[in-house]
Amino acid sequence: MRKAIIVIFTIFIILGFTGCDAMLEGFFPEFGDEATATLEIYADVSNLRANPANLTVPLYIIIEEQAPGTKILRLEFKVGDDNIQKTVTVPRRDYKVWAVADKITDGDIDAGDYSNYAYYYDTKADKTLDICRLSDPDVGDNIFVDITLTEDTNYVYYNRTDIPSSN
């Protein structure tokens, strides 16, 4: 009897470990849904003015999936462009979107630079102006990033995002 109980107990533990993710997906279905949503990201840069006018402006849209990782999109545009558009497919779960830009210089940012701005509470977070949290995004949801240029600092800022209903 004791051996039988020990065997059952051992199997239970092993199943518990191997089935951890399945159990968690059962408790939190949003993490088990493999379906994806397509997000279209627009940056309206038609009002952007800078001097000289032909500088390239790097724009990072950081999509922080709450699990399991982070996507970083780099969109690049020039002053005078009407708008830029990017479509990205993400898992259907909660995530945050960060819009980050660097100072307008030569348009080149080292790979590590963005991390200084990607953290919402970083001391340099004044460069990270907008954050929106989407819950259960639907296919076709759009994120609009309106961009303006402040004349005194030469920084690109991102104003309010708008998320129209897909309905």
Binding site: M1, R2, I5, I6, I8, F9, F12, I13, G16, C20, D21, M23, L24, F27, F28, F31, E64, Q66, A67, P68, D94, G112, S115, N116, Y119, Y120, Y121, D122, C132, R133, L134, S135, I163
Partner: protein
């Protein structure tokens, strides 16, 4: 050492008295209101983009623990898995970290937003007096985050439980779990709680915060 010897001797003398539980397997669940860990559903339930509080779900209000144990004679071994909601994992994993690009600086790490399990692996003793079951055990904690994003040993625990068997195979009761950073701190705190100085005892009590769990257990 002398105390340990006396305790062991007392246990050996009690062996034939029938106070010890028979060999059995336990499966059960334990529930803790999140108020017991100093949280409210407003803390755990985020606002949507318009600042509207969302409807709280089960894991915004409760901690759920899955319990399994095996006992024979006096001895008792258990594995408990506390279901950690994403907000709990984020709270635990967020904070200031060293900037990988500039080790002299610190940056804010927003944490991992994913569910997980906090496991308690424990061993100890169990005594039955009539329909009452008393349990005391110690062990270590282990954290698992969804998809194996993080697996880590996470301190130690002391668990005390009291249950009432209302049938041969079912019981309800209360379990208290205190978390410590390591075994040395745990033993020092337990030792201090028996100190003759009331100030030391009070200090130990302040450090030994038990998280209550309501337990419903099946005895097989």
């Amino acid at each position: 050492m002398k105390k340990c010897f006396l305790i062991l001797l007392a246990l050996m003398l009690m062996l034939p008295t029938g106070l010890f539980a028979k060999e059995e397997l336990e499966l059960g669940i334990e529930l803790t209101p999140i108020g017991a860990i100093g949280k409210s559903s407003e803390d755990t339930n985020p606002q949507d983009i318009d600042g509207v509080q969302q409807e709280p779900e089960f894991f915004d209000n409760w901690l759920l623990s899955l319990h399994s144990a095996y006992s024979w004679d006096f001895w008792y071994a258990s594995v408990d898995a506390v279901v950690m909601a994403p907000w709990m994992i984020r709270d635990m994993t967020s904070g200031m970290i060293t900037d990988p690009d500039d080790p002299s600086d610190e940056i804010y790490f927003p944490g991992i937003y994913a569910p997980g399990f906090l496991f308690f692996f424990d061993g100890g003793g169990k005594i039955e007096i009539g329909n009452l079951v008393g349990i005391g055990e110690i062990g270590f904690n282990w954290l698992y985050i969804y998809k194996g994003m993080w697996k880590a040993s996470l301190g130690t625990n002391l668990r005390l439980g009291l249950r009432y068997k209302f049938t041969e195979n079912m019981s309800v009761g209360l379990t208290g779990t205190a978390i410590f950073p390591n075994f040395a701190t745990m033993f020092r705190t337990i030792g201090d709680s028996f100190d003759t100085d009331p100030l030391v005892r009070q200090d130990a009590a302040d450090r030994m915060k038990f998280i209550p769990m309501f337990a419903m257990t099946l005895h097989l």
